[in-house]
Symmetry: C2
Subunit: 880 residues, 2 copies
């Protein structure tokens, strides 16, 4: 019988594994093998595969057949390689055991060092290195680490004993304890272990190793690891590898040390050797931060040979991996060992610079460069941010609703925001929650902070749309809008006090903080140029103001994919007219109000058409339920009633009548356009008058309106609205004597529309997937209400990711695919796009590419992200 | 060129058409042709096909090529057959023109008689029949009918002139006017026509005919016809035929007459010749009701020969058509003519009796008998109804929410309903709207009337579930629950006053009315027996009380398809415990409340299991959002707070916290069961303890629970809940030492579940389509809010039918088909049913049959309907 192989050895210049075997060996194990194979000095060892871990979980903690034997065999090989023996009294082999999954989960999983130390072997170490203190300090650390990681004891219990010891010895630093103190500590630690666990500390090295391996397996499924994976979209069933390696010590004296280094600067991307190290120290000392590490320049001075060796390894690894490497090294008594290499994490700026530089250096091609930058990372380059060097004092945390950072004086009303803005002051608008009335004040502010609301609240959506820093749902702050102050515990923040918001993290910070405006370097432009040429998918923007349209166009938008006309109804001078229209008793009075709105909408469209010269502008006719435009609070109702000369009770009763149990599934979208055709008629008239007038005013100015009917679920809804639309458009064009090229299409956002897309396509010239609503209806999830269960679903892994952020390919995506295929089955040249928020989400953009959509549409500040994601999808497809 | 044929002649014992040609000739025209062919005396004539009408609409009122020539040719043939000439001065041919579509639309469309009368031909008639008064009376009627139907003038304008004439002549009856009076009337009528239309009354018979044909075409598209078709699911594009026929006169003297007759009694189904007639009268006189018609017995006495001839025709037609016929006849001067025969409409009772009788008589087979009864009609047999002979005075109209009729004293509270019920008084519960608190009062009442709410309001759903007469949304009544009275205009109805409700029509009637309890005759049982044997589809019931379960079982239910467990939470002594559970801070306190509820739920299940011995019982775990169980009104909140010893504001704030923007898409169904697993755990425990205890108490009593998880959209939701369910069930069974055979399945009611049904089927043993919610989410229609646009959609023909009543086969149905096929692709023996309200809708039942479902489930009172519909689907499939 040919038993399955679970253990892979590396050492003596050869390894059974390689960098390609990450799934099987984990990332760390695969790279240890790879480094061994290319002649980098790595302490020998072996990796137990992720399959063993998966088997362990599938079999209630049982090992697969043969694994124990394999471990024994590899241990023997390791002893032969190091010429030491595990548990030996004279020349003992000590081991490190580290977890390592295919996808890095920093800080999530466990490591145990110095395995193999026992009362017997510790004496052997002491004799061999002629340093008893070192030996017992290692032993003490081992017992503590094993107790904590393997036996699940509280770290603090050990620390307490250590503190007591130091006090009784009248010292303050660990290093001031001598070897006798340390021996005593080991003995006390072991007593604690026996007392707490009911069993003596294991003196058998093999038992120590087995227990540690099990602990690493177990660490895969701790709550925090599960949560981390859920949050980072890492599958829960990968399992971890276990790396068992001969120990090397950086703390053996002045010719020893340990450090980390990057092949290039991970913050700026500059091609300089970057890193830091500590002499006579172990990795945990670097982390503890008690001593300040030196830079590599110092190493060049202190240990020129070692530095030279390390610099050569830097060159070798980068040329081997064609990417920036993040390496750990240890110097043991003048010998350099590499403990790890991995792809170096980097800032957006560094990612862009290294990608472009490496193309220039001939290290990678442009396609690889495109793949080297995480599209979402670009967000960092598009907003001001808190200076990474600044130390901040976080007062409260909310939801990171719209990225970037902002500093300003606190104000509690839009009115005040506008006032101070006019005086040239920078303000942060703080509200319980925002409403359409606040839009002006939000625009005048540097950032927005609300106590209520979620990621899709008014403040969040408008903030993101404006590309404005925004923190919402910050429950910790207690806002008193009347008294013009908010409090967090004892801290009172009054109007005029400065705060800083970090919309990328959701932090509220007291006082001012330095911000940096990341520069749009030439590298960024270069990379985006490559991306634009590489992509197949069109990228449009969701915009309903000339300003947003211009921002998006400058970022590379190829048209407007969604212009929401209802936002134009919220203006201060318009809302009262809109309300009058809604409250009208009959079509005649409704038309009177609409007649007043028409010229205003026309001007809106003209301004947008002007910016979007020669590019298509997709305009969605009115979508939200009418009650959204009506006054909400008692005061607003009173005010509106008096303005309209109407008894308050009558207005209240009308509002009550328009109230809906499930507004999401109510009287909105084309249902409004069908029951009140005069509303769409006015909008279509405004669109075509704007287009005709612009064509007359500006010679050769091409306007390409694409008119979109929302919420269509049945072909007849599209027929009904389209028929009237074409009639109105025709009448306007005839009146102006101008021919405007235009299209009529529909949103596909109701599941029924997707299911009957073949029929709907007979009347539609284009489809635009409204994946926000499509997700709501396909899952039956109200975005406003998922807060009660979605976080739990993500935590428990019931859903892998938030379907409102990343498109649910198995469900919603299936409907998108079905509708695309059905739609093109009856209309092969049907133009198809997507205008939900998924249009700016890289994974979703890749999905749209694969599904064969023509374009995605997203908010202006996500245009570069979508372009890069689209380019990556195209490159990956070509590679496949 | 072979021109298309549009006109079909009948006469002289032969016809170009036949009964099979209803689509082309309309029902009336096809039957006139058929009668002619089998030798029944029919006045000759011709039918213009529905295709001509369709062409007329497609071409702005234009005739197809050749139609005018065909009409002329057929008119010539008719003149030859009758030996009269159209418009002749001596022996004029007079014509009737009647519309006739493929599907009968009684009273919707138009008829004009006596076409061909002119100042010239009227004299010819007078001379030929030697009766000047008859001639001018016919002429007067013609001008009036033509003016009204063809020229669109108000009927009342003519009536006014007639009234003036009678006054000036000092008479009261039309018949008292002499021929001179009538001549004068004709002349005045014509002046009115000229004045109102600006054109003289047409004196050219051919123009009269052409104008009338156009008027019949136009009558297809009157508003009321469109609405009628929309309401009755008749396609809008069928078009009408036009029947042009030689006039015969029943008003030519004592040896003339006219009447209608049925081959069997249409009310009882008895095999007796049934009909009535008037001597010396035209059809419109029968309708006007000024003279009381005689029965056929009298005709046998007065005109034995004619009666004999008619009786022979009765036999011949019924044997020819194998069905009850409804015939019109006219006797002109001793000669019998048949003007129409059609399938006789009949009551449910008559339909059942004739179907069974005709099988006994060997006239039809059992399969045909099954097809002879409209399943929906059976509803009439299952509830008391207002005596058809009673004259009623309708006070107000609401929505016909639950069929049947009820008489009782008005009460305005459930409390009072229960009080009076205990005293043996019959009451009608009248409320603004009902809430779960009213369920007891509703059960104690004969019927329910609400001022608010729609067809799916609480009152409507509970009413239908109880099989209790219910009228809802009766806006006309003004309910003052405090003053214990309601008013309709001036009429005040106080507590204790009697009213009658007709839940089949939606009528509210003042005072008592006689009701009839239709008998469940042997025929009904016989027919249902045939249906049960013929069907393939299983029929289960939606029931959550032992009483409903028993009713359904007696009606033939083969199990419970949906037992809603939440209804058990609403009991008076339970709701407070449920509320306590909801308000619990932590799992511990929640479990305490659940522990109190468990024994109660167990008893519920035991009672139901007992009734449903040996039949499957599908139990749906808790589905509605928790806030549905919390107090709503300020008073309820105060009361609950004091009961729970909690500050009112705290309770209010908790209720506010649980409030959802779109509860339909919120925290409900398995989302509750996942976030609070202890709730489902309690329910599963109750189910299995009930089953185990019953098994122990009653030897051989087989309990077959099928446990259903609601609102699953993702396989992981089912996995999560199923895992815990199986564990709990196993623990209970082990504790009792009993093995219960059970299944775990899921609702398919979220579109995502349908789309991913192949994956979901891997964990589900059965699917049950919740087509109510599936329709809501697939359309994006909130049932609670569609009232604002659905009626308009139906009126405008945007939707053909209400998708909550009849399953939308093109959209929702596609998802049902997809899920069925996908589910069985991974689990071939997957059991699949439907438990939405569609399960009791005949068209939807047929769809379920075709889709290959295993069963439908519906409310107890719809079981026979579903059985019959399922049988019809099976018979039609075999026939096809």
């Amino acid at each position: 019988m040919n038993a399955k192989k679970y253990v892979y050895f590396f050492g003596d210049g050869r390894a059974e594994g390689s960098a390609e075997m990450k799934d099987l060996l984990g990332s760390k194990g695969a790279n240890l093998a790879e480094m061994t194979n290319i002649g980098i000095p790595v302490p020998p060892g072996f990796t137990i595969s992720t399959e063993a871990c998966i088997h362990y979980y599938a079999n209630d903690g049982g090992y697969p057949d043969g694994l124990e034997d394999e471990i024994d065999e590899n241990l023997a090989r390791l002893e032969a390689s190091t010429k030491k023996r595990f548990g030996d009294a004279k020349n003992p082999l000590l081991l490190s055991v580290r977890s390592g999954a295919a996808i890095s989960m920093p800080g999530m999983m466990d490591t145990v060092l110095n395995i193999g130390l026992t009362d017997e072997s510790v004496a052997g170490i002491a004799r061999r290195v002629e340093n008893e203190r070192f030996a017992y300090d290692s032993y003490r650390r081992f017992v503590q680490m094993f107790g904590n990681v393997v036996l699940g004891m509280e770290h603090s219990n050990f620390e307490q004993i250590l503190e007591e010891k130091k006090q009784s010895r009248g010292v303050t630093m660990d290093t001031e304890l001598d070897s006798e103190d340390l021996k005593d500590l080991v003995s006390r630690y072991k007593k604690l272990v026996e007392k707490e666990t009911g069993r003596a500390f294991p003196e058998d090295p093999k038992e120590q190793l087995r227990m540690t391996i099990n602990a690493v397996f177990e660490s895969w499924n701790t709550d925090r690891a599960i949560t981390y994976r859920a949050l980072n979209n890492i599958p829960q069933d990968l399992g971890t590898g276990v790396n068992v390696q001969a120990m090397v010590f950086g703390n053996m004296g002045a010719d020893s040390g340990t450090g980390v280094c990057f092949t290039r600067d991970p913050a700026t991307g500059e091609n300089v050797f970057y890193g830091e190290y500590l002499l006579n120290a172990q990795g945990e000392d670097v982390v503890a931060g008690l001593r300040t590490p030196e830079t590599l320049d110092q190493l060049e001075v202190e240990m020129p040979d070692i530095y030279g060796e390390l610099a050569a390894i830097r060159e070798k690894l980068e040329r081997h991996y064609h990417d920036v490497q993040d390496m750990e090294f240890t110097i043991e008594s003048g010998t350099l060992y590499m403990l790890q290499t991995r792809t170096g994490k980097r800032t957006a700026q560094a990612a862009v610079k290294t990608a472009v530089d490496m193309v220039d250096e001939g290290l990678i091609d442009k396609e690889t460069a495109i793949l080297r930058v995480e599209p979402d990372q670009l967000d960092q380059l598009l907003h001001p941010m808190i200076d990474p060097k600044a130390t901040v004092d976080v007062l409260a945390k909310g939801l990171a609703a719209s990225p970037g950072a902002a500093v300003g004086k606190v104000v509690f009303s839009s009115h005040r925001a506008l006032e101070l803005d006019e005086k040239g002051e920078k303000v942060i608008l703080v509200r319980l929650e925002t409403s359409p009335d606040d839009v002006g004040g939000m625009a005048a502010s540097q950032g927005i902070l609300t106590a209520r609301g979620g990621m899709t609240s008014h403040a969040a959506i408008v903030g993101r749309g404006m590309g404005k820093c925004c923190v919402v749902g910050c429950n910790e702050i207690d806002v008193d809008e009347k008294a013009n102050r908010f409090t967090v515990g004892d801290v009172v923040v009054n109007e005029g006090d400065f705060i800083t918001l970090d919309g990328t993290k959701g932090d509220v910070i007291l006082g001012t903080t330095d911000l940096v405006e990341p520069e749009m370097t030439g590298d960024f432009e270069t990379l985006m140029g490559w991306a634009s040429r590489a992509k197949r998918l069109g990228v449009r923007t969701n915009a309903d103001t000339p300003h947003d349209s211009e921002v998006a166009r400058n970022f590379g938008a190829e048209g407007i994919g969604l212009c929401r006309t209802e936002h134009m109804f919220f203006g201060k001078e318009r809302l009262p007219i809109v309300q009058q229209m809604i409250l009208a008793d009959d079509e005649g009075s409704r038309r009177k109000s609409l007649d007043k709105l028409m010229p205003m909408q026309k001007e809106d469209f003209k301004d947008i058409f002007e910016v979007m010269k020669d590019l298509p502008v997709t305009i969605r006719l009115l979508d939200p339920p009418l009650h959204e435009f009506l006054p909400k609070t008692a005061e607003e109702v009173r005010e509106a009633a008096s303005r309209m000369n109407m008894p308050v009770d009558e207005l209240k009763s009308i509002i009550q009548n328009l109230h809906e149990i499930n507004p999401m599934l109510g009287h909105r979208g084309c249902r409004l356009g069908i029951t009140y055709p005069e509303i769409y008629e006015m909008q279509v008239q405004a669109i075509f008058e704007a287009a005709c007038e612009l064509a007359a005013e500006k010679d050769g100015h091409r306007v390409i309106p694409e008119i979109m009917i929302p919420l269509v679920g049945h072909i007849n809804e599209l027929r009904f609205t389209k028929e009237r639309l074409v009639e109105t458009a025709g009448a306007v064009m005839e009146r102006y004597g101008t021919e405007i090229e235009y299209m009529v299409g529909t949103m596909i956002e109701v599941p029924r529309a997707a299911v009957t897309a073949d029929v709907i396509a007979t009347e539609a010239e284009f489809f635009s997937f409204g994946t926000n609503d499509l997700t709501q209806m396909t899952f039956g999830f109200s975005r406003d209400d998922v807060g009660k269960f979605l976080p739990f679903y993500l935590k428990e892994g019931i859903l892998e990711s938030d379907p409102f952020v990343t498109i649910d390919q198995a469900g919603v995506g299936k409907l998108v695919e079905m509708a695309t295929q059905k739609g093109r089955s009856t209309k092969p040249d049907l133009k198809i796009g997507i205008c939900g928020e998924h249009g700016g989400n890289p994974t979703s953009v890749e999905f749209c590419h694969r599904t064969g959509l023509d374009y995605v549409s997203c908010s202006p500040f996500r245009i570069p992200i979508a372009i890069l994601a689209a380019a990556q999808a195209a490159v990956k497809e070509r590679d496949a």
